[in-house]
């Protein structure tokens, strides 16, 4: 077992809306990422994936508020830290974040080198411009971006280039954890592949030590990350290695999610897509029982008032799922349906 780079213990955060209502967007999430490993988080829109990423940085601004839980980065607990201190000591050097709209993250009036100066100055106020340029040129050349990019403006770059530039800028201080929030969702397949390749290379070269990758594209997660967690309504409902999660999903929600994968391979055409009916619950008033019960095909009356706890199973108990039904009962149900998942 490698050194644990990031550990989150029972993290709870909420949004307070302008009407004073609480929305429990991340409700008891625990995870662990080891050095050199990556974790993928999958789930539908609005399930709290991005909020989880924001909460993990310890950088809280209204309407997002911290409730409880620990965020430990390489032995240092950052939960409850002052946001200004987080900005100068944690963000960028310990944990870096690539936002969902990275394409729009660059100020169009500034050259790329200015962003790098900004990032480095926040952490090392004494660094000179020449030093920064030297470091930036070296890093950019290593990542195949070319040092001429440094003197360009954001509008002169294509979508894929912009995305890779954002990644290079946010990782210039070699953070221990990189959180990538849908970095490739707005790109076409070839640009997406380049972004992924670059992230993998950064991992190999030690520029980042571990990664959390958020997306709703499951085939992508399967190819990029070591582990996959499926999130639903603010909680992880299942957790396991990428292979186990794709070929042997257990929770009814992940099972449904895996059934909606489309890849250009033989057999896809005749496939019945399994869409999950309904919408996720309103987190202003989270349901008392299982959060998925309303949309679950196999729900029993008990599911509506008993909240399931996290259960470990599998070889060495490394996998987790959150359902009242036993492993055997769920597997029997899927077998009955003719094994809709592959």
């Amino acid at each position: 077992m490698g050194k644990v780079m990031l550990e989150v213990k029972n993290l709870k955060t909420k949004y307070i809306t302008r009407f004073g209502e609480d929305v429990y967007s991340v409700d008891g999430v625990s995870l662990k990422i080891e050095e050199g490993k990556s974790l993928g988080v999958a789930g539908e829109s609005g399930c709290g994936k991005s909020t989880l990423a924001l909460s993990m940085m310890g950088y809280y601004f209204p309407p997002l508020h911290y409730i409880s839980g620990d965020i430990i980065i390489d032995g240092q607990n950052i939960s409850g830290m002052d946001p200004d201190k987080v900005r100068t000591t944690v963000l960028g050097s310990e944990i870096a974040y690539i936002p969902q709209a990275a394409m729009n993250a660059l100020n169009p009036t500034m050259k790329i080198i200015r962003f790098l100066e900004d990032v480095i100055h926040a952490h090392e106020p004494k660094a000179t411009k020449a030093e920064i340029r030297e470091r930036a040129e070296e890093r950019f050349a290593d990542l195949g971006l070319g040092k001429e990019v440094l003197d360009r403006h954001a509008v002169e770059l294509s979508g894929g280039m912009k995305q890779r530039t954002v990644i290079a800028v946010s990782t210039i201080l070699s953070p221990k954890v990189l959180i990538a929030d849908e970095p490739s969702s707005a790109l076409d397949v070839t640009s997406q592949k380049m972004v992924i390749k670059m992230m993998k290379e950064m991992m190999e070269k030690g520029y980042i030590r571990s990664m959390m990758f958020i997306t709703h594209e499951l085939p992508l997660l399967y190819n990029v990350t070591d582990d996959i967690a499926v999130m639903y309504a603010g909680q992880f409902v299942e957790y396991g290695t990428a292979k186990e999660m794709v070929f042997d999903p257990l929770h009814p929600y992940s099972h449904g999610l895996m059934g909606s994968i489309l890849v250009p391979e033989e057999g896809t055409r005749g496939m019945n897509l399994t869409a999950i009916p309904g919408t996720p619950p309103n987190l202003k008033r989270p349901p008392a029982g299982c959060r998925f019960a309303e949309r679950c095909k196999y729900a029993t009356p008990e599911c509506f008032y008993t909240a399931p706890a996290e259960k470990m199973f599998g070889e060495n108990s490394t996998r987790m799922y959150r359902c009242l039904m036993s492993e055997e009962a769920l597997r029997a149900k899927y077998a009955e349906e003719g094994g809709a998942s592959k």
Binding site: S45, G144, S158, V189, Q192, H216, G256, E337, G339
Partner: protein, 285 residues
């Protein structure tokens, strides 16, 4: 794998929309940029066609020309066998009764000041239902909403921004269900919704085709999705169709190098995803 779905062959029907040497050039002189370069196509009635290509390959320019929002620089578009005439406003309105579109961004597709009822009532009025009694209109709206698994009773008196992205996109399909155009042009309707809602939307489009027999032109960069849904696939690169044919033939047995690259660039489940085929110093992407 569950049982295979039977699909009717729609590629033999009468011609619905075709193009001969359709070209669009932006700018002129030394700065001229040919976005769509002499493309020919034949879309049949009831056919599900996908146009697949990367960003900047000219897909959207082509779709705008098909919709009549952009002029054609060269060549002609034939609608139901006759050259398309949209020179006057009246003729253009007539043409738009036969062709409708769903766009990529559902959040930008609605007028935020109009309630959902107004959106759907507009469609009924446009189809000549202006003088129907209100009860009849509600019945039609309820039917359209239930077709896309929405409940009209829950939607009435709401504004579009109160819905989620997937619901908005489904409401768009309900609109099309009421309008029943000859052709539906869907420009990346699923790229902004998550994988789960995507499956629902795709199945609804297939049902819509089977129920009304309309031609659906589906524009996407996701070749896996195109393979699942379409009868015919056109692959577009730099404004040209480099390959086209039945979905099975094109995807399982690609001939053009561009098609091969597109397919190899999609992350797969049962095959190794080869990352070495891309060069990070390539400036184009």
């Amino acid at each position: 794998m569950s049982e295979m779905k039977e699909r009717k062959d729609y590629t033999k029907g009468p011609l619905c929309l075709s193009g001969r040497g359709v070209t669009r050039i932006f700018g002129s002189g030394a700065k001229a940029n040919t976005a769509v370069d002499h493309v020919d196509f034949d879309f049949h009635e009831g056919e599900f066609v996908s146009i697949v290509g990367e960003s900047g390959s000219g897909k959207t320019t082509l779709s705008k020309m098909l919709l009549g929002l952009l002029n054609v620089s060269e060549g002609e578009i034939l609608f139901q066998g006759k050259p398309r005439d949209i020179s006057t406003r009246a003729k253009r309105n007539e043409y738009w009764k036969g062709i409708q579109a769903i766009f990529q961004d559902p959040f930008a597709s609605y007028n935020i000041f109009h309630k959902i009822d107004a959106v759907l009532l507009d469609c009924i009025n446009m189809r000549g239902g202006k003088n129907l009694p209100y009860e009849k209109k509600v019945e039609m709206m309820t039917e359209a909403c239930s077709f896309v698994n929405l409940k009209f009773a829950e939607l009435t008196n709401k504004y579009p921004f109160e819905l989620s992205g997937g619901q908005m996109q489904r409401l768009m399909i309900a609109r099309i269900f009421l309008l029943k155009p000859k052709i539906l042009l869907a420009d990346e309707p699923t790229s902004m919704v998550d994988a789960c809602s995507r499956a629902t939307i795709l199945d609804m489009l297939l049902n819509l085709r089977d129920e009304t027999g309309m031609t659906i032109i589906f524009i996407t960069h996701d070749i896996g999705l195109a393979y699942y849904i379409s009868d015919t696939v056109y692959i577009m690169e730099h404004g040209k169709f480099v390959e086209y044919g039945k979905a099975d033939e094109v995807i399982l047995n690609p001939k053009a190098p561009y098609t091969k690259r597109l397919i190899s660039d999609v992350p797969k489940i049962h095959e190794e995803w080869d990352l070495s085929t891309v060069d990070l110093s390539d400036d184009q992407y």
